[in-house]
């Protein structure tokens, strides 16, 4: 264990941060057994005021409660949208990489389309089309972030297809489905997992930016909502924006560290140096 920490310090730090954040999300209803929207006192109480560890916002709501309850939503948006875009990206990437030819061409053109529009603007457009809600935000983030996944999976598949152990499966008469499912996918996954951790980070940031522009889901307390709502009053109550901002920074940092750590851990070439 200790040597593991020493060898993959980034991953351990990153994983610890994410674990702590998840714990906070789980503990939120226990720590703050009331709605984060509830107005519990005077507005603009600074951090440390009685009843408001982290201060209150413009309506006298508890920032600490908002932060804790918002954790869940931010993680949910990050997690679900990433899973969804991994789903799309892996399917299309696998299809393109395995079938090749025209299918490959078509899928890649399709991905290219998504990359010709600035992704944030596209996300805004999608949220507007679907109406802002937690569902549409997740959908929009997923829809704009799958192309890199598809590209990575496709590239992995293309290179894996040439690998001898895949050809071996082919020669054994293993079906397409099983080759993809039990041979190609597990081997293509490590870079995707790394990408996935970064995508969660990106999704958290995108959600906060959407909220900042007023396109969040007002039924769900999220960090992005807090940052966005506090921004216009930043000179009266800096804590309303800045503390959730710090939470975002820490989480995204944790996810990035985790991603980098995973990269080292999952890449046999980097983790175990071939000895002479």
């Amino acid at each position: 264990m200790r040597s593991f920490i020493r060898r993959y310090p980034r991953m351990v730090i990153g994983a610890s941060i994410i674990l702590a954040v998840i714990c906070l999300a789980i503990a939120a209803p226990i720590l703050f057994p009331f709605s984060p929207w509830e107005m519990r006192g005077a507005p603009f109480e600074p951090p440390g005021s009685p009843g408001f560890i982290l201060g209150s916002d413009a309506l006298g709501r508890d920032i600490a409660a908002g932060l804790a309850h918002g954790t869940w939503v931010s993680l949910l948006i990050g997690g679900v949208s990433t899973l969804a875009s991994l789903g799309i990206g892996i399917s299309l990437g696998a299809l393109a990489g395995y079938v090749g030819g025209r299918v490959d061409d078509a899928v890649m053109r399709f991905a290219e389309f998504f990359q010709t529009i600035p992704s944030f603007l596209l996300a805004i457009l999608l949220v507007a089309i679907f109406r802002p809600s937690i569902f549409s935000i997740i959908t929009a983030i997923a829809l704009v972030s799958w192309p890199p996944v598809a590209r990575v999976v496709r590239a992995e598949f293309l290179s894996l297809r040439k690998r001898e152990f895949v050809q071996a499966a082919e020669v054994l008469g293993v079906s397409h489905f099983r080759i993809v499912w039990q041979t190609l996918l597990p081997n293509a996954l490590p870079p995707v997992i790394v990408l996935g951790s970064l995508m969660v980070a990106n999704a958290v940031l995108t959600e906060s930016a959407l909220s900042f522009l007023g396109l969040g889901d007002a039924n769900w307390m999220s960090w992005g909502f807090l940052v966005g709502s506090g921004r216009s009053v930043i000179r009266i109550g800096w804590w309303i924006s800045v503390l959730p901002g710090v939470a975002i920074v820490i989480t995204v940092l944790g996810l990035n560290l985790l991603g980098e750590g995973l990269q080292t851990w999952l890449n046999p070439r980097l983790s175990k140096r071939d000895l002479p």
Partner: protein, 330 residues
């Protein structure tokens, strides 16, 4: 062989341009459908803006914007116009869309272009420095810093910079692109614009550069294990020379790819930074257009970014061709 490569160029480029055109057409269609899928239309947005409406008024507006026609017909009309390079007129701004876009272009490129160049240069330099001794102090500091800026929401960086440099220290203007109270000319005006640009450019640059730092470092570390680096050492080349002459050029290949993609997107501006710093760029124009359902303007912006992105993809490949003798085709 290299002359072969060059001779084939015009044909290859021609072919690519043709493919690009097809792609653009597809993009136009998809964008059109996507934008029209959004609830609301320009007429309802105008009604919303003016706080008044009646049925006749709405009907007139829709007729005027051609919204009373069936969607496929609207699409067809739009494509016809695009083919003649007529992007139409923004109903909201009452001006030709190309004019509006070109008007915003200089400010946009000044912001995103400068930030991009700074980010690229500093990102590569810091990445090279970090890769010099992976795990060393410099590496830890550089990578930690870039990670921090990468993890911080862009608008938060902007707000903090405004507070610190604009409010507390009062060193720099915090919004707009120039001082308009007194008309400035020549160098005075350039200086004035430069001062206005400092904060937004830095905000954007630290964000952009984080990616280049990481990419350059990873690429340098990777290249450092290539056998030809050992060959260079065996020749007696100094570490400095090895780093800048042998490693960097090879390590730049993935950086070029990323830079090419990003360069294409510069024309789209940055909604967040433009909003925070009141920068008159295309990002905020697009955002306003979206909220006001200014379909034609939004389509125009999307079309322009698509064309520019695709053009830069082509340019990137051309740069590759010039940069890497191994690349044979586009």
């Amino acid at each position: 062989m290299s002359s072969n490569r060059l001779q084939a160029m015009p044909r290859l480029i021609g072919w690519r341009v043709l493919k690009m055109a097809a792609m653009v057409l597809a993009i136009v269609v998809v964008n059109f459908l996507l934008i029209h899928a959004a609830p609301g239309d320009p007429a309802s947005a105008i009604a919303g803006q003016s706080g008044q409406a009646d049925a006749e008024f709405m009907r007139q507006l829709r007729e005027q914007f051609g919204l009373d026609k069936p969607l496929p017909l609207q699409l067809w009309i739009y494509i016809e116009r695009v083919l003649t390079l007529d992007l139409g007129v923004s109903h909201r701004l009452q001006r030709p869309i190309l004019t509006v876009i070109f008007e915003r272009l200089p400010a946009t490129l000044l912001l995103t272009g400068t930030a991009f160049l700074i980010a690229l240069a500093s990102g590569v330099a810091l990445g090279v420095r970090a890769a010099r001794k992976p795990g060393g102090i410099a590496d830890t500091l550089i990578m930690g810093g870039s990670l921090f800026f990468y993890a911080t929401p862009l608008f938060l960086v902007g707000i903090v910079l405004v507070l610190v440099f604009g409010v507390w220290l009062n060193w720099l203007p915090t919004f707009g692109m120039e001082t308009v109270d007194m008309p400035l000319q020549g160098i005075a005006r350039a200086t004035d614009i430069a001062r206005h640009a400092v904060l937004p450019v830095i905000t954007l640059a630290v964000f952009y550069s984080a990616v280049y730092v990481r990419l350059t470092r990873a690429s340098m570390v990777e290249v450092s294990s290539y056998p030809f680096i050992k060959t260079a050492r065996a020749k007696g080349a100094s570490e400095t020379r090895i780093r800048w002459v042998h490693m960097l050029r090879n390590a730049l290949l993935p950086v070029i790819t990323l830079a090419g993609i990003q360069a294409g997107h510069l024309v789209g501006g940055s909604i967040l930074v433009e909003t925070v710093f009141a920068w008159p760029g295309i990002g905020s124009l697009a955002f306003e257009a979206l909220l006001a359902r200014d379909y034609d303007l939004l389509l125009g912006i999307f079309l322009c970014t698509s064309v520019v992105v695709l053009t830069f993809n082509l340019l990137t490949d051309l740069v590759y061709l010039a940069f890497d003798p191994r690349v044979q085709a586009l």
